[in-house]
Symmetry: C2
Subunit: 193 residues, 2 copies
Amino acid sequence: MTRSAAMTKSAILIAAREQFARHGYHRATVRAVAAAAAIDPAMVMRYFGSKAGLFEAAVTVDLELPDLSSVPAGQVGHTLIRHFLTRWEQDDTLVILLRSSIGDSEFAEHLRQVFLQQVAPTVQPAAEPSSAAHRAGLVATQILGLATARYVLELPPVVAMSHEEIIAWVGPTLQHYLRDGGPLGAHPSEVAQ
Amino acid sequence: MTRSAAMTKSAILIAAREQFARHGYHRATVRAVAAAAAIDPAMVMRYFGSKAGLFEAAVTVDLELPDLSSVPAGQVGHTLIRHFLTRWEQDDTLVILLRSSIGDSEFAEHLRQVFLQQVAPTVQPAAEPSSAAHRAGLVATQILGLATARYVLELPPVVAMSHEEIIAWVGPTLQHYLRDGGPLGAHPSEVAQ
DNA sequence: CAGCCAAGTCAACGCTTGTTGGCATAGGGT
DNA sequence: ACCCTATGCCAACAAGCGTTGACTTGGCTG
């Protein structure tokens, strides 16, 4: 029985995402992916050229961030965290990237690019302008930490929380980072517009 | 020239911490550690038995968390984040554990134990009692995220911030997680003592 | 000076990894 | 019925890993 090439490719991609999400790029093996797809490891090379090519084909990072400029200023934080929660459970692209990035500086660069090209441009217009970069960075720390604790390390109390609880707790934090007065109110450049 | 055994052991440990911090447990190699210590890989095995033994000897996690009960209730957040910042730059034990834990469930368990045995017991008494576990988890997300962004992924805006800026921004967040009213102000059990 | 023990080197093992090239086979178009 | 091509498998490679055991050297003690 010979499957179609498209079917096999898709089966490999599914298995690859599974393995990359569980073990990260380096610990995931081509052989394990092939086994999960019920196929010979050589097929992976035929269709994707190399392990790196497989990764690139399997992982395309699109955070699908909403346009925050059409969100009421007071609800930006809640909107952001709600979006990320649903986005995380849509597929495990982000877990893959997290697991792969930690411990490899090249993949860290990959994630830095995601921050630079997707998070920063979306978040900064919603932030107080004079310190927008800092604020976007702070938002990233909270979101990264939540993802790490809940989906990677699986800290029990963080796993146990419901979406609504998380939104109610973390939303104000993001709001604080984006819109509140600077540290200690120490930035005279701050302008409430 | 023959060094003393203690000197060699210590040189190996220093090199090991460096390698583990840079690459995590799995990607760090015994051979690289040995090379950095200007020594034969076999010496590592003689002194530490195995790579796992080396790791255990090189990494002992003591967060040295202060006693929060002697800190004014309003300053718990600032005290916590200030402590972690100085602790992180004291040595790179935590970076090692972070880099090693992501992508290996056994090491993730290790980090979960650190949370359970050190963070939770220290933080929970300072939190509102009826939801102490959740609150400790939230604190962990913010601290983990900051460490990941600043010391592992090295997001530029997060690296650029000074200690005082971070303390001023993140302190209130931790304070919020520990002491503020529950989500939606829904916990009437909160008591200001 | 002889001998012994700690400190260190060396070569090799078994294993796993990504990757390659050659070989089988099925199946549809002519 | 034939053949050609896409699909797939198998065996093997080179490299890197942790780990092992036997050997060499240096320096102190008697």
